[in-house]
Amino acid sequence: MRILVVGGGTGGTIVANNLARRLSGEIRAGKVKLTMLSASDKHMYQPGLLYVAFGQMMPDELYRDQASLLESSIDFHVDPVEQFELDKNQVKTKSGKVYMYDVMVIATGSRIVPEQIPGLAEGAETFYSEAGAVKMFKRLREFQGGKIAVVVGVPHKCPIAPVEVIFSMHDYFKARGIRDKVTIKYHYPIGRIHTIKEVATWAKPEFDRMGIEYETLFNVKEVDVKNKVVKSEEDTEYAYDLLIAIPPHRGMEVIEKNGLGEGGWIPTDRHKLTMNGHDNVYVVGDTTNLPVSKTGSAAHFEAEVISENISSIVKIGTPVRDYDGKVYCFIETGHDSATYAMFNYQNPPDLKPPSKPMHWFKMSYNKMYWTSVRGLL
């Protein structure tokens, strides 16, 4: 049985490591071969980007060598897939190699496409890339006062990020003693300040307390870089001194080019996590089209289900578990407090009041992440 994992991010790495542990006997006996293909030799801890944007983490802390995170029984190659030939159960890579599989897991993730909104790439700061996060920190550091606008593109990974960046900015300028010189205006696409009802209800009085201005039903249309004005589909606009954007996202180009899913989002069964129409192809993480948050957390829980099922298929011929939609996300609420949102398909989130210990739990998780992708936590 040849198992191929395409993509070395959170979801792909956890699937591969879990399978390597569960099927260690079968791999040693030569009954199973486990291969991973990735576009990069490095693994990035993406939640760290928010910390980089506020000078709390250095960019080098975001990365580890992918090979160092993988079980030795995984055949790992830095050789991205360029063609998916699902009818032939094979893929073709950049180097020209062909990999055949019996089971494939697509874990290619998502990318930011700020160019979808005219003027956004040139006019806005974003912490959704390493370079962007470092640049944003420098701009924040130089900022002496004025109007900061935060806008949100749809869809985007990490739905809680817009709220977190507001809390972080408020605390950052307070610590610098210039919070009264800075106006922070938050713009959100739907009719409340966050898509999760419980978060919107909790955050609104917090925004009021912190003196954050906000405008809902603001869908970014374009940015007039020269005049520093951001405009909405609803024909409203806001003049800014500094613009911070959470850019819109799409799935990876290779997914779109191979016609696997519109926008790069692969049609996936919400419980089995198999690709629609292909029972031997699993999809994990951002690249699914599931109405589930695009987060490392969702990828983690999906990966657990997928690896358990592929392993049980090898051992007893059938899958054993369904994905219940579980997601567990930390919510940083400033310099020294945090809370979390946990939910699944059946149960909405139930937010607890933010606390310092919860902030420490999040700080600990920044380090525990590496142990978690190795399949140890």
Binding site: K356, K367, R374
Partner: protein, 141 residues
């Protein structure tokens, strides 16, 4: 019932319990105040790396086998003897003049029974090691 003052024992015990609870609460607060992001991060980092290392070590069959061998007294004794021999030899070397080389020097050396004993040991070890290595090659090592 406390017979001296007439107050119920339960009431006295509660006051002391409360005092201890208050002390405990102060301790927790103090610990909380002492903790910083850096401490938490370093502890978590150490623990994470520790778990990873422990996982690797416990799955390393060679290491487990070596540990079992090390548990045997004769192996422990041998390793200690080896270490002692080297330590003492090193000390003696500090006061022994460097060999000058040549046949005359060699003849002088073999007059020392210690040297011959050493050569005997080396040849005994060597022949067994050679046998064992040939065995290893025969089995494709």
């Amino acid at each position: 019932m406390n017979t001296e003052t007439g107050t119920p024992v339960a009431a006295t015990a509660t006051a002391e319990d409360l005092h201890q609870l208050a002390e405990l609460a102060n301790l927790v607060t103090a610990a909380r105040d002492a903790m910083s992001d850096d401490i938490v991060t370093r502890l978590a980092g150490a623990m994470s790396e520790g778990i990873t290392l422990l996982d690797r070590l416990t799955r390393n069959e060679g290491l487990i086998y070596l540990l079992q061998e090390l548990d045997r007294p004769e192996n422990q004794h041998f390793l200690v003897s080896l270490a002692n021999a080297f330590t003492e030899a090193s000390k003696e070397l500090a006061t022994t003049p460097q060999a000058k080389g040549g046949l005359v020097c060699a003849l002088r050396l073999v007059q020392d029974p210690g040297v011959l004993e050493g050569l005997r040991l080396v040849s005994l070890v060597g022949s067994r090691l050679s046998k064992s290595m040939r065995e290893m090659h025969r089995h494709g090592g």
